[in-house]
């Protein structure tokens, strides 16, 4: 039995090392089903990670999903002299926000952190976002717990490949992400502006929000981390169309949960019209962003910053 246990203990780390090495060597061939590495994307996360590395201080740091990076426009905040950086990425869940927060909080030294929380994201496993983060952000140790917590083979296989590749390969450092990608334009400060489009109303099926325990736990860890660094934070739910809001069967439960975690804001102006200010059921178009963002800046952010 001792021999068996000794061999098992010896074999496992060797097998792990061997697999990591093979993933690193063969991951770039594009043939391994469970390695999903893609540099660049509609969220311009690569450009954001490059830009934020050069920033020493911002007033507000935004984290969250596409609702964050398509809503909080740095140009509107700059009109009042507020510097912001938007680190939102596609389908970013609290599991990925936690990584970005730990990686960039100290370097960009924000006075306030705004974490966007959305009913559609809190019950999402975050696999797509994890893969995007691994591919586009310089590697850090914080990525490993995220990969393990995902319990997804594709994330677990992509993590070693992406981290080693991004650490050693010059192609990662020299990648030049074009600022325009289809209808999406990268705006300095982490914002992504979309060509003007309007929402065409359609039937929204009833949607029951079921927060995943892993995501609420990750959100709690983010907030605890911010508390430990004495950085104030705000949880924000960005506007949805009225059609979408009515489709949620338990929105009040979701909002109660968020309120119980910390300061929470779900600002939605009556002036927002579904067919004028949105390009789909849960994303504002640029006209909506101009309207909402200036109101959010004046009524929420400026008073908050003044108290700090």
């Amino acid at each position: 039995m001792k021999r068996f246990v000794r061999h098992i203990i010896l074999f496992h780390p060797l097998a792990l090392l061997f697999s990591v090495l093979m993933l690193w060597l063969l991951g770039g061939t594009g043939r391994l089903r469970n390695v999903s590495y893609r540099l660049g994307g509609d969220d311009f996360l690569y450009s954001k990670s490059r830009e934020i590395a050069s920033i020493q201080q911002v007033d507000v740091l935004f984290l969250g999903s596409s609702h964050a990076y398509r809503t909080f426009d740095p140009r509107i905040f700059a009109e009042r002299g507020i510097s912001v950086f938007n680190l939102g990425s596609s389908n970013q869940t609290p599991l990925q926000s936690e990584v970005l927060l730990r990686q960039y909080l100290d370097s960009c030294n924000p006075r306030l952190v705004v974490i966007e929380v959305h009913p559609d994201i809190i019950d999402y496993d975050g696999i797509e976002s994890a893969l995007s983060l691994l591919s586009n952000v310089p590697p850090s140790w914080h990525m490993l717990p995220m990969a393990l917590r995902s319990r997804n083979l594709r994330v677990l296989c992509t993590a070693p490949y992406a981290m080693l590749h991004n650490l050693f390969s010059p192609s990662f450092r020299s990648f030049d992400e074009p600022p325009v990608r289809g209808v999406n334009h990268y705006v300095s400060g982490g914002y992504v502006e979309r060509d003007m489009a309007r929402y065409t109303p359609s039937d929204e099926p009833p949607y029951h929000i079921a927060p995943l325990p892993a995501q609420t736990a990750a959100l709690r860890r983010c907030l605890n981390y911010l508390d430990s660094r004495t950085v104030p934070f705000l949880l924000v739910q960005t506007p949805d169309t009225r059609a979408r809001l009515e489709a949620y069967t338990n929105l009040s439960d979701f909002q109660s949960l968020m309120s119980s975690l910390g300061p929470f804001c779900a600002l939605r102006s009556d002036a927002l019209v579904d067919t004028l200010h949105f390009f789909d059921s849960d994303h504002l178009n640029q006209r909506g962003v101009d309207l909402y963002c200036s109101q959010f800046r004046d009524s929420i952010i400026i008073p908050l910053l003044n108290t700090l």
């Binding site: 039995m1 021999r3 068996f4 061999h7 074999f11 060797l14 097998a15 061997f18 697999s19 093979m22 993933l23 063969l26 043939r31 391994l32 089903r33 469970n34 390695v35 319990r151 997804n152 083979l153 594709r154 677990l156 296989c157």
Partner: protein
């Protein structure tokens, strides 16, 4: 709890460690393995534990009663147990099927008031047959009934083979629960090796084939004839890799606990005729039907026509055992038809040895025979995979080019890239170890080479398996 799940990866080492820590006490080991098996099964549906408990208790008591009785009493207790177990099996598995068929025939399909819509308990066909074999063997006096209920319950519910076999006989498995077990390093290593091979077959070969097969079978009317042919060939390989992979994991897992289970597959796709195929495919079920149905019916010794009739009975029952659907009956009937010329010509026991016994490669006639047998089996699997008989004939018609042209789905592009190399690796390894007791038995002497081989296989599994847990095909039976 699936073998290919994270839960099982945590469950197995814990059970293994505690089991061997309890080693001096056989009773504690059996009690623990019984508790672990109950937990394993309860992960699917704890309600059905009562059903296993009832089946086990009925068989345990009937075994003792048969042993103590004589004359009609023996027969009465045997039949009581057989009828009770088969009634439970029929109620859960076949009642709705026969009720629906009755309604279709006589009530114009109106069956709402007749159907029970019962959930099929996982593994019911397997553990019911295992429990039945015990009481029949006690009746035949080939097994002495045990008085140890813990050992007996552990025998019926032993978790590696509880949900999809191999269907064990009391004469081989029960004594292993009654005798002290000591840890054997070679057996445990063999077990891990066999499990690794099983995981490769299931998670890489079977699940990769499943991607292609499911896409074609769900939209076969949009696919071209070559796609349908490829899908049916790949389903043959999928079902083999899936079920024999499961059996390898189960047998390997049992070896970790010092318990040997019978071989369930013996390279069936290297068979030279359909009779040989059935001696090598799902051996534990085939031999169950042979010993408890075919031979009692007279087998092949009651004249040629009686033998033919018995063969048809066996294959039809075997088809029905797989599932409550006319497609399974048709599949059984098809195999009986393939068997018919071999029986009539007295050539059903022509190939008792393994192909090319003293040569590395088969001769051309052998290769032709193997390919023909594989293709005949493949045609049968179309009935097995189809949801209805109409579907299967429509599929075959399109496959033969009767129908509008559809699109071709490449089996080598995109996510399907691994299918061909994985199949090649599987059949190569199994060909060169076809004379061994299990497919991955032949190993290089050098430990470094062996370990590099294991690590490579682990890497292939990690890099190419599906991200979601894919259930084993035979769990539905």
């Amino acid at each position: 709890m699936l073998f290919n799940s994270l839960h099982f990866a945590l469950f197995l080492p814990v059970v293994f460690a505690v089991y061997w820590l309890l080693r001096p006490s056989l009773r504690s080991q059996n009690l623990f393995i019984l508790a672990a098996s109950c937990f394993f099964y309860a992960c699917w549906d704890p309600r059905f534990l009562l059903l296993i408990a009832f089946t086990s208790l009925a068989s345990y008591l009937s075994g003792l009663a048969i042993h103590r009785s004589s004359g009609w009493g023996r027969r009465w207790f045997l039949w009581a147990n057989v009828v009770v177990n088969l009634l439970i099996l029929c109620l859960f598995k076949y009642y709705d099927f026969f009720a629906q068929s009755f309604a279709d025939l006589f009530l114009g399909g109106r069956s709402d008031h007749l159907l029970l819509h019962l959930v099929l308990p996982v593994g019911i066909s397997f553990y019911t047959f295992q429990a039945l074999s015990y009481s029949i063997d006690v009746y035949r006096r080939s097994v002495t009934p045990t008085r140890d209920p813990v050992a007996f319950f552990a025998y019926v519910s032993f978790f590696p083979q509880l949900v999809a076999g191999p269907i064990e006989r009391a004469s081989s498995l029960l004594p292993q629960f009654l005798a002290p077990r000591s840890f054997s390093y070679p057996l445990a290593v063999q077990g891990l090796r066999q499990m690794l091979w099983g995981f490769f077959k299931k998670m890489v070969v079977a699940d990769s084939c499943a991607l292609y097969v499911d896409r074609v079978f769900t939209s076969y009317s949009d696919c071209s004839a070559p796609s349908l042919i490829i899908a049916s060939l790949l389903f043959s390989i999928q079902i083999y890799a899936d079920f024999s992979g499961y059996s390898d994991i189960a047998i390997g897992c049992a070896k970790l606990f010092g318990i040997s289970l019978r071989r369930n597959f013996n390279v069936p796709y290297f068979s030279r005729d359909i009779a040989e195929f059935w001696r090598r495919w799902h051996i534990s079920l085939t031999s169950w039907f042979r010993d408890y149905l075919y031979i009692p019916l007279g087998g092949s010794r009651a004249g040629r026509w009686r033998s033919v009739a018995n063969t048809f009975i066996i294959f039809l029952v075997s088809g029905l055992w797989h599932g409550a659907n006319w497609t399974f009956l048709l599949w059984g009937f098809y195999h009986a038809l393939l068997f018919l010329p071999l029986i009539l010509l007295g050539r059903n026991r022509r190939h008792l040895d393994t192909v090319a016994p003293s040569r590395p490669l088969p001769s051309l006639p052998e290769l032709f025979q193997m390919l023909l047998t594989f293709l005949l089996a493949t045609l049968g699997w179309i009935f097995f995979r189809s949801p209805s008989i109409e579907f299967s004939f429509s599929y075959i018609a399109r496959m033969l080019g009767m129908g509008s042209a559809g699109h071709f789905l490449s089996p080598v592009a995109g996510d399907h890239f691994i299918i061909i190399p994985a199949i090649f690796l599987m059949f190569s390894v199994e060909w060169f170890s076809r004379h061994s007791s299990y497919p991955f038995a032949r190993q290089p002497r050098s430990r470094t080479l062996r370990w590099v081989g294991y690590m490579s296989l682990i890497f292939i599994i990690i890099a190419f398996s599906q991200t979601s847990e894919m259930p084993f095909i035979y769990f539905q039976f």
